[in-house]
Symmetry: C2
Subunit: 195 residues, 2 copies
DNA sequence: TATGATATAGAACGATCGTTCTATTGTCAA
DNA sequence: TTGACAATAGAACGATCGTTCTATATCATA
């Protein structure tokens, strides 16, 4: 009933602990989760992981994960034959939370209803991230109150005239009166298949 | 030059530390970041935050943040007048990383080129999350190699016959031969405006 | 001004931390 | 079988942790 412990095993268990608890385990806890009774054994394995570059220590000597455990690999690294986007921006995506939301305090989520933005690729049940306290620019998609209903429209401003335009030919362009209320600007769209 | 310290000030500084360092600060560090010289002062303020429910302690006594600092508010809580989706699923979204990616190890990112899925709301420069090691079902969008090119298509299987269909009327339906390669199933789409 | 509440400083305490040491066990190749 | 190395156990150490204490400074209000 002997099991051979590998670097990957230990890494996975520490990563799992981090994801579960939101912090790194102490050496006592590492000993516990890898199934040994001595802290020095945990120290022994952590030294290996540090040596392999899988773990790091920050400036205060605390253990940290070298790579974001939720980071996704890029296509080019995974599957030869798939064209590599090679966009520099992509290399920095380690967290969708950071990538999608610039200003968490001033943003909120909205589940899309209706088809007024279908031609812009925004569909029913998509989630949109709306950021308030942001000045809409021409061509932005905004969340606005029109005739008592909240909808999403393209925003255009010509001089002092504001025009709200749907991305759906079945809707007509709207030129609201003074009581226009704009709740925010859509900064991102996410859609999940396979719930 | 006296500044009045408030609960919100301290909360913000601790949250900022957590976001920067990926861990909670020690009491010494809290004293440092709020600008006092004594650990007991940090303890004094942490006690207040614990009392207010802004901070918590986990089972081991370690400080943790009560709420995810990156979590987005739901529309209904933020802006009265905006229709509340009231979908139960929405209440659990605290992290896009967790929400979008079920299986980080077997998923990768791809930047979309081409317009073959435009009618499915997947546009050029969108990011799609592709999960391999998943059996495609009818109606799924898959990443497949067709005639030496990688494209995204709807997947349909009728008996033993596999049909790949674009979501763009300008493309014809493809019924590949035996050398069909499917790299994975698209599980999510994200689009960011305002880079 | 007097008084109480609030906020800060600094010292002290036991507990736990990370680290290091010795000793023992297990594994595999010579 | 034997020797070399890897892996584990357990004890010990100083350092830092979180906590608690007393004492002082600041502020609002009576």
């Amino acid at each position: 009933m002997k099991v051979k412990r590998t670097l990957q095993d230990v890494e996975k268990k520490i990563t799992a602990f981090f994801l579960d608890n939101g912090r790194m385990p102490s050496y006592s806890e590492i000993a516990e989760i890898i199934g040994v009774r001595s802290k020095s054994v945990a120290h022994f394995w952590v030294a290996k992981l540090l040596d392999a570059g899988i773990l790091q220590k920050d400036s205060k000597g605390f253990l940290t994960l070298t790579r974001n455990p939720r980071a996704l690999k890029l296509a080019g690294e995974v599957c030869a034959g798939i064209p590599v986007p090679a966009e520099e921006e992509l290399r920095d995506i380690v967290s969708f939370d950071e990538y999608l939301v610039r200003n968490p305090q001033n943003s909120f989520l909205l589940s899309v209803t209706g088809d007024s933005m279908i031609d812009a690729g925004i569909r029913e049940k998509d989630l949109v991230i709306v950021e308030n306290n942001r000045e809409p620019k021409n061509g932005d998609i905004v969340l606005a109150e029109v005739d008592g209903n909240w909808t999403m429209k393209y925003f255009h401003k010509k001089g002092d005239m504001v025009v709200l335009e749907a991305a759906n030919s079945q809707y007509s362009t709207i030129m609201p009166r003074a009581d226009l209320r704009i709740a925010g600007v859509i900064t991102a769209v996410v859609r999940k298949y396979h719930k």
